[in-house]
Each structure stands twice: as C-alpha cells, then as structure tokens.
Subunit: 329 residues, 2 copies
C-alpha cells in the first residue's frame, strides 16, 4: 500500500433510487470529496435515445431535482410528449417526461458527437448543480439481461414492461467481459472508504462488480468497504430485490445480503429491526453496525451517511487496516 | 391521353403554412378525393430526429390541430423539453414543443424500423384524423441548400437560425437528381386538376419540381394546372418569398410568380389588389382569375378552394383541354 489514504475522499457504488438517497446524504456531507460509481447495466436504447436510468436517478437526486412523489424522473414534470405519442400510436410503455426527455436528447446528441458517457455525465451533473463526481462504471455497453424460463429479457422489458412479473432464473451482464472499467475510476485518489449504497445487489451493484478489474481494484484499495443492506425486516424498501433473492434461493434478509457480499465487504450496516441477525452476520467475518436505515427525509439520508462514515473510520483503525487516526478535516 | 379524368380527384402541391391553408380548404371540400404532394426539401436531422416541417404543417393543419396563433406547431403545446434542454446547455435554436416532439420521435422510430416516409406520413395523418392523402414528394432525401456569398447553408440554418437574414444567391436541391419521385404519385388516379398552393415558389414548390420526372408527370396529366400566387400587393403573406424574389432579381409581384411558373401552370389565381396585373399576366399565355386570396379564417380557406376548383373546371372545358363538362360527382 504505497498511495496514502485520502482521508477526505469517499467512493460510493450506487444504482437507482435507494442508492441515490444515501449518495445524496454523502454528497451533502462531502460535496466534491465524494465520487459515486453508478450502474449502467440498466441503460438501453429507446426511440433512438440512449437512456441511463441509474445515472439519471443519481444525477437528479444529487441535483435536488428528483421527483420525490413519483420515485423517479424530475420534479415539476409534464407529459405532453407521452400523451401525444400515445395518440399517434407510438410505443408508450416506457414513460418519458417532457423535461426528462431533454436529458436523454442531450446525452444521445453528445454521444453521437463523440463524447464519452463519462463526459456527458459530468456535463449533466454540472448543469444540474451536482458537486460530487458521478462516474458510469464503464463507457462501454454492459446490458443486464434477465433469463426466465428459457427466455432472455432485456432489463427494461423485465423491469418496466413486465413489472418484474416473471421469475428470475439467472442474471446476465451482456458485454461485461469486453467492457473496460471506466478509466477515470483507476485515476481516482485512494479513498478513505468505499460505501456500497443500499441498491439492489443483483441488479444494481453486481453489474458494476462484473466489469473486469472492478472487484480487484476495490479490494486493492486496502480501505474499508461498507455495504448498507437494502433488505430491511426481510423485505426490500423498494423494487424487486426481495423477490429476486427468493427466486435465486438466497435468504431474503440482511444476512442474505451480507452473504452476497462476503469476501468483498468488510462491514455491513443493517437496520435496527434486523439487530437479531447481527451475531450471525458477524460470524461471516463481517463487521456489523446497526442503524436506522430507512430514509424518509433528507435528514435521514444525511444521518445514515454520517453513520456510514463513522463506521468506516472505526474500521480503518482496526488491525485489518491499521491506518493512523484520520487527520482533522 | 388514354386514362379518363377522375373528375372527383384533385392533386395539390404544397409547402408550409400558406400552402397548408389552401390545402385545408380543399380537404374540407374534397376529403379523400384530395391528394396533397408535400415538399420535403426542408427536412433535416436534429437531435437525432428526422424532422419534416412541411409534412408536419400540412398534417397538423388538415388534422385541425395546428397552432393558429403561432403559425407553426401544435395547438395546446407545452415547452418543458426546450426549457430543460436549454438548462442543460443543449442546442436550443430550433424550437421543439413537447407534443410536436412526439411526431418527430414517432417518425424517426418508424423510419428506423424500415418504414418509408410515405408510410409514416399516412400513419401520422390517420392518427390525427386527416382524410385526404398526404404524400411526400419523394421517399429519398432532397435537401434545400442556400448559397449565399460563397457559403452553403442548410435550409433550417438559413430559415430558423439565421432568420433568412443573408442574401440568397442560388438555391440548390441537394440529392434531387438522385431522388425518385414518390412511387405513390405515379399510381394516383388521373385528377381533374392540379392546384399549386400559395407556398413559396422557390423554397416549397421548386424542390418538388426538382425531383426527376415531377414536371413531366404533371404536364403529362393533361389537366389544368393552377397556381395561387403567394405574392399579394407586392409582398409575401408570410415568409421570405418576396425577399428571395428580390435577391434573385425576379419582379416581386403576382406577375413575377406567373413568370416563374410559365410553361407549367395553365392558370393563376391572383388577389383582388393585383387586378391591374391581370392583362400583363394573360399576355404570358396564362389564364387569370382574380379572387380574395388572403386566408384569415377557415371560411376564407374554403372559399378560395372553391374558387380554384371552379377555375379548374372552367379551364378544363377550354379548347386546350377540351374535356366534356364534368359529370355530376
């Protein structure tokens, strides 16, 4: 370990809504000292647009313009485009708000001009006032594919059109083997910790880890890797995580999440209501911290983010890492 | 002339707003007995969309959903997309309403699926309740290019971004020589007349006539070809027609319009205020009809359309055509 730990830099891994909330709390505390590596396995082409749902959710959330009622898209959204497209008989299954559409048009136009997804992500973040650094996991296409009963289903088909209504036999990250980890990730300063946000482990975090070199880069940082369980009381706060875990025969619990990240995460943050699982998780060799993890308000996000940072600092001073105490600031 | 004249069928040629108004009057009188051949020289690619401004204007106008205040686009339009695109720093010079965008997305998506522009035009017309047949002049790309002071300027750059603010030395219809006249045009029943709507002769009608075979097909129909002058009292009702005529050293008058169509049009409809020019135009060998040609209301459109049909019927019975009187419908 030659590079010094940059005490003031944190790397987070995130997918969609749940992950974006914690990333928002971290961004509030850290600003430009935070880098969020975002899943692009959900990306797809629709009506000629390159749509990056998780990048958009994180960007909108950190930009303070996310639609909090709806759980996705932009606040103050209008729907003239969708209404008219439906009238014309166009494909209306994927809802595109008028303002949201500007993001997709901007991105698609810039990509066509030759910009990388990373460059476009920086531009969109800057335009929406995001001060943290957001990085797609790769500039190359990785596409999550759901295998169900012999069928291969593109992710948004599964997630939106089928509303996750088919059983998952297997999840594939098409293109991952050939994808290059975002070069900007390798160029990041060595952080004080890595925080895996409470995103779907199978659909949001695994695609990031599937990019060749991602896992070894994370482990090679030699800093605490902390995961926040997206499963609380045996259920997912949002989305199909619990359903998928059941279908893949994983225990639907914080214990199942811990087992999923065994060998990668050094510590896990579980919810108060799952405290009874702490001993069993600890037996997997993972440090456990019990917190209130359900984020209903901005204050909740900031509080959980602070708890994650404190947990990371504490782990950094254990013999496994044996770093000196973090300097002031 | 072997094919019988289909008394109940009229073909109109049209470009944008002015032409669309007369086409709307004709459509009111004729319904599915009208075919409108529409200029696609203004078409362009923008933000990945295939945009066909004249097809859209004619479709919206005949569908009764055109924005009458604005003079282009759809009624009840909203602007969330443009506002957000401007916020993101995207190209905002070409205004795209949220609902209008659905037309472009639908068309682009269908073209990408392999549909022809003709097929898409039919689908969009049907969705918006248009009963007349609308046909792009060609399914192949023809692009109007403005030559000004040694520069070549794409049409929408000239028309929208530069607001026609540079002098026109020459107008080119790039791609026209290789374009194939829409095959659906050759398959039309022989009409009772052709009506060239009061669109810009240089920018809206000439591109249609530039498609190989268009002019000879029109003349070969052997039916009256009538043009309605878009120049009234020495000025254009809308758009740069007068300015361009001046720059191209053509007399800015109904006489100039008549001279432009000499050898093609058999008759011209001029406005009451230009009655003094009637004799001079007649001397060009063109029949002249004087009408109120400024269309402020739907009733004006229908009245002018009716006058054009009456003029055509009258010409059809002159020795030049020598057809029997039109049968009762």
């Amino acid at each position: 370990m030659t590079a010094p730990v940059a005490d003031d830099h944190i790397i987070a891994l995130a997918g969609g809504v749940g992950g974006a909330k914690l990333a928002d709390g971290l961004a509030h505390l850290l600003g430009d000292r935070l880098t969020v590596i975002v899943n692009t396995g959900d990306d797809f082409e629709h009506l000629g647009f390159h749509i990056s749902p998780d990048l958009d959710t994180v960007t909108y959330t950190l930009g303070g313009v996310a639609n909090s009622q709806q759980g996705w898209g932009l606040e103050g959204e209008t729907w003239g485009f969708m209404e008219q497209l439906a009238r014309l008989g166009g494909p209306a299954w994927f809802k595109l708000g008028d303002r949201d559409l500007a993001t997709h048009a901007y991105r698609t136009n810039r990509l066509r001009e030759g910009a990388t997804l990373t460059e476009v992500t920086v531009e969109l973040g800057a335009a929406l006032g995001v001060t943290s650094r957001l990085l797609p996991m790769s500039d190359d296409p990785v596409r999550t594919v759901i295998h169900s009963g012999g069928r291969s289903i593109a992710f948004q088909e599964y997630f939106v059109r089928l509303a996750c209504g088919v059983p998952v036999d297997r999840i594939e990250f098409a293109g991952a083997a050939a994808a290059r980890l975002n070069p900007a990730i390798g160029a990041l300063p060595r952080p004080a910790a890595v925080i895996i946000c409470p995103s779907n482990p199978y659909l949001s975090i695994d695609p990031i880890l599937a990019v060749p070199g991602a896992r070894s880069w994370l482990k090679g940082l030699g800093v605490p890797i902390i995961v926040v369980s997206p499963i609380v009381g045996g259920a997912a706060i949002k989305g199909p995580a619990a359903k998928i875990m059941q279908e893949l025969k994983a225990p639907v619990s914080a214990l199942g999440v811990a087992a999923h990240y065994r060998g990668l995460a050094d510590g896990i943050v579980i919810d108060n209501c799952d405290e009874a699982l702490a001993a069993e998780i600890a037996a997997l060799g993972m440090a456990v911290r019990v917190e209130s993890t359900v984020m209903r308000s901005k204050a909740d996000r900031i509080e959980l983010a602070g708890a994650c940072l404190a947990f990371a600092r504490a782990l950094l001073q254990t013999p496994a890492f044996d770093h000196p105490p973090a300097s002031t600031k």
